[in-house]
Amino acid sequence: MADIKLKIKKKLDFPLEADSITPDNFAGKNIADIKKLPLFYATKQVTIGDYFEVSGKSTDVADTVIIIDGDVSNVKRIGENMTGGEIIINSGVGMHVGNHMSGGKITVNGNADDWAGAMLQGGELEINGDAGHYVGSAYRGYRQGMKNGTIKVKGKVGVESMLWAKSSKPSKKWPTLYCGSADAFLGIHNHGGTIVVEGDVDRCVGADQAWGNIVIKGKVSRLLPSYKKVGEVKEVQLPNGEVIKGKFIEYSGDHTIKKETNGRLYIAA
C-alpha cells in the first residue's frame, strides 16, 4: 500500500475540474510528475501542483491510495475512469466524482454534488453524507447508465438516481445503490438495477422500470398508479445474492412499459 496525500492550497472562486486525480494517473509516477498533471480552473489549464500540496509515494494502480484533505466540495470529476486503487476524500466533493469508474474504491467523508458515480462500470463508491441529483445515473443522451458496481450513500440521494441502470444476468453484473433516503424519480428507466433504501422516498419511484428490484424500508410519498400489488413477502431475494429480511408489500411495475413485468418494488409493510 502506498499513500499519496493531496491537500488543496488555494481558495476556489470557480469549480476545479480534476479528472486527472486517479490511481491510474498517479501509479508509477514520482511526486514531481504528479504535480505536473493537468487540472482545469475556469477556462485555464493549470496543474495539480498549482492547487494542491502533494506528498507520499506511488506504486502500481491497485495499491495506490490517494488521500485528499482540505475542502474539495467545489472540485469536480475526481476519480474519473479509474480502474483500481483507492481515493479517500476528507470533505464534501464536487460533481461527477467517480464517473465511469470500473474498479477500485472511492470514499467521500462528506456530501457529494450531482452526478456522483455516473455511468459506473464497477468498483465501489461510498458517500458518508448526502449526495446530489443523478447518483449512479446515465449521462445526457445515453440509454444505458450504471452497469455494475456498488454505490452506498449514508444520507439522501437527489432526483433521478440510477437513471437508465442496466444489469446483465449472463455476465452477473448487478449495479446496486444503497441509500438512506431518496428524492423523486428514483430508479427511473431501470433496466435491472438494484436499489435498497433505508428510509423514505419521494414520488415516482420506479418510473418506467422495465425490470429490476427496488426495496423501500420506509415510506413512499406517492406510489405510481401504474404499479400493482402482487402480495406480501417476508424477505426479498436480490439478484446479487443478498437477502433482505422483513415484511414487505410486493408490487409489480412499471405497467406503462409492459402488461406483464418482472419489475418489482417492495415497500415495507
Binding site: 472562486d13 470557480f14 469549480p15 475540474e17 482545469f40 475556469a42 477556462t43 485555464k44 460533481m95 450531482d114 452526478w115 441529483h133 443523478y134 449521462y139 445526457r140 443522451g141 440509454r143 433521478e160 423523486a184 424519480f185 427511473i188 428507466h189 414520488r203 415516482c204 418510473a207 418506467d208 406517492r222 405510481l224 398508479p225 401504474s226 404499479y227 400493482k228 400489488k229 412499471d254 405497467h255 406503462t256 409492459k258 402488461k259
Partner: protein, 441 residues
C-alpha cells in the same frame, strides 16, 4: 397621387413560436414608422408599433458612468464590451431567442473564441422538452399536417389563447383543413390543466389535473392503454373512469396531436413530464396516428437550438471552457451557474433575464459586468454596464426564423433601423473583431 404608406405583405411575425407568416404592415414612407398592422394578434401588433422611436427605444450606444447611462460612440461601446468579455474568467453569452439565425451563429463564434458559456432561453423554457427528446425521441409533425388532418387535439399545460393567440385559428382548432373540411366542428379539443383556462373554456373537454401531478396521470393513461386494470380509483384528481374514457377517445381518433407547454417543463418532473408524454404518443401509434409538438414560446428559440446544434452538437447550455463544446443542463445552464455564482461577466442578446430569471439568480447576474444587446429599455438593459442598441429582427432587418414545428421561414425587413441601431448580427460581428484584436489574433 403620392404614396404616403408602403405596404409589406406576407410578413412573418417576430413574437411567438407560431411564427404567423401572413401579417401586413403599413409603413409611413416619410417618417419610416409603422402605422398599421393587419392580421397580427394583439401581441405581434404591439411589437411592430413599439419598434417606432419612443422614450424606451435605444437609439445610440450607452455606457454606465456614475450610475447613469451616457451616450457614446459605437467604437467606445464595443471596445468596453470587448474588454469586459476578454478579461472575464467565466463569461456567459445568453439569450438569442428573439433574433435571427445568422446572429445566433455569430453568438456561437464569439462564445467559442472566449471559451465561454453559451446558452439560450430554452434553458428556462422548453429545455426539458429537448432533454426528453434526447432520451426517448419524439414523433413530431408540422403545423400544416395538424391543420389538414388532426381531429383530436390535446393542449396539455399550454394556454394558446394567451400565449399563442392565433394558433387556434391558423392551425389547431377553427381552421378548415384538407381532411377537416368542417373546421372547428371536425375537431375534438381536449384541454388538460390545473386551471379552467380560456383555452379550456372553448374546448370540447376540460380535464382538471392537480398541479405538479401530470406525470402520475400520464403513467395511469399509459398503463390503461397497455390493458392494465389499475389498483386505484383516482389519479392526480382525475377519476379512473375519466381516464378510461379518455383512452378510448384517443384510441379511436383519426389523427391526434398533443400540444404541450410550460405546464410540463416548468412544473416538478420537468423533462420527465415530457418524456412520458412522448412515450404515450408513441404508444398510441399502435392504434392510430398520434404526434406531438412543443409550443415554443419565442419566435426563434427553435432556431437558436438548430443553429447551436449545427455548430456545436448541442442545443443549449453549452460550455466551451475546455476548448471544445460540452453539454450538461443543471451544470452548465445559466440559472444554475448564476445560483452558484460561477459567472463573472455576461453578454445578454435579444432576451430579458432580468425579468424572467428567478430573483436570486438575477442578483448574482447583476453583481458582475453586464453587456446588453437590446432595442428597448428592460429590467436587464436598465442595469447593464454597456448597452449596444439593436435593430429588431423581423422588422428592421431580414433573417431566418424557425417555427415551433421546425419549419424555417424568412423574416422581412419592413423599415430601416432607426437612429444608430445596428442588427444583432452586425453588432456581434464587430464585437468578434474587437475581441480578436484584444486577444492578439
Amino acid at each position: 397621387m403620392v404614396e404616403k404608406v408602403r405596404t409589406v405583405k406576407d410578413v412573418s411575425c417576430p413574437f411567438c413560436g407560431t411564427l404567423c407568416d401572413d401579417l401586413e404592415i403599413d409603413v409611413d414612407i416619410k417618417k419610416d414608422i409603422v402605422v398599421e398592422v393587419r392580421n397580427g394578434c394583439q401581441i405581434g401588433t404591439k411589437k411592430y408599433f413599439s419598434s417606432n422611436p419612443s422614450d424606451h427605444r435605444y437609439m445610440k450606444p450607452l455606457i454606465k458612468e456614475n450610475g447613469e447611462h451616457k451616450e457614446v460612440s459605437w467604437d467606445e461601446a464595443l471596445d468596453k464590451a470587448a474588454d469586459i468579455l476578454v478579461n472575464a474568467q467565466r463569461p456567459l453569452l445568453y439569450g438569442f431567442s428573439s433574433t435571427e439565425c445568422e446572429a445566433q451563429s455569430k453568438g456561437v463564434e464569439l462564445a467559442e473564441m472566449l471559451n465561454a458559456l453559451l446558452d439560450n432561453t430554452a434553458s428556462v423554457c422548453h429545455g426539458p422538452s429537448l432533454l426528453a427528446i434526447q432520451d426517448v425521441g419524439a414523433s413530431l409533425a408540422t403545423l400544416g399536417e395538424i391543420k389538414n388532418r388532426a381531429d383530436t387535439i390535446i393542449f396539455w399545460g399550454s394556454n394558446p389563447v394567451h400565449a399563442h393567440p392565433r394558433h387556434l385559428s391558423r392551425y389547431s382548432d377553427f381552421i378548415r383543413g384538407y381532411f377537416r373540411t368542417d373546421g372547428r366542428n371536425d375537431r375534438n379539443i381536449i384541454v388538460i390543466d390545473p386551471r379552467n383556462t380560456h383555452t379550456a373554456q372553448i374546448a370540447d373537454k376540460y380535464i382538471k389535473v392537480n398541479p405538479s401531478e401530470d406525470y402520475e396521470l400520464i403513467q395511469a393513461i399509459r398503463a390503461v392503454l397497455r390493458g392494465s386494470e389499475l389498483d386505484v380509483k383516482e389519479v392526480s384528481g382525475v377519476s379512473i373512469d375519466d381516464i378510461k374514457e379518455l383512452v378510448e377517445v384517443l384510441k379511436s381518433s383519426n389523427f391526434g396531436v398533443v400540444f404541450f407547454g410550460m405546464g410540463f417543463t416548468q412544473s416538478l418532473g420537468k423533462h420527465r413530464n415530457v418524456d412520458t408524454a412522448i412515450r404515450l404518443v408513441a404508444e398510441l401509434n399502435d392504434y392510430t396516428k398520434f404526434l406531438l409538438i412543443p409550443m415554443r414560446g419565442h419566435y426563434n428559440v427553435a432556431g437558436a437550438n438548430q443553429v447551436f446544434t449545427w455548430n456545436t452538437g448541442y442545443a443549449y447550455s453549452i460550455d466551451f471552457s475546455r476548448g471544445y463544446p460540452r453539454y450538461n443542463p443543471g451544470e452548465f445552464s445559466s440559472v444554475d451557474m448564476l445560483m452558484r455564482d460561477e459567472i463573472d461577466a455576461s453578454l445578454i442578446v435579444a432576451s430579458d433575464p432580468g425579468s424572467n430569471f428567478p430573483a436570486a439568480s438575477v442578483k448574482n447576474l447583476f453583481k458582475h459586468p453586464l453587456i446588453s444587446i437590446e432595442p428597448h429599455k428592460t429590467p436587464t438593459s436598465a442595469f447593464a454596464d454597456v448597452i449596444l442598441p439593436a435593430a429588431i429582427a423581423g422588422i428592421e432587418c431580414e433573417g431566418t426564423a424557425y417555427r415551433m414545428d421546425g419549419v424555417p421561414l424568412r423574416l422581412r425587413k419592413v423599415k430601416d433601423p432607426p437612429g444608430e441601431t445596428l442588427s444583432d448580427k452586425e453588432i456581434l460581428e464587430k464585437l468578434i473583431e474587437k475581441v480578436k484584436e484584444k486577444m492578439g489574433e
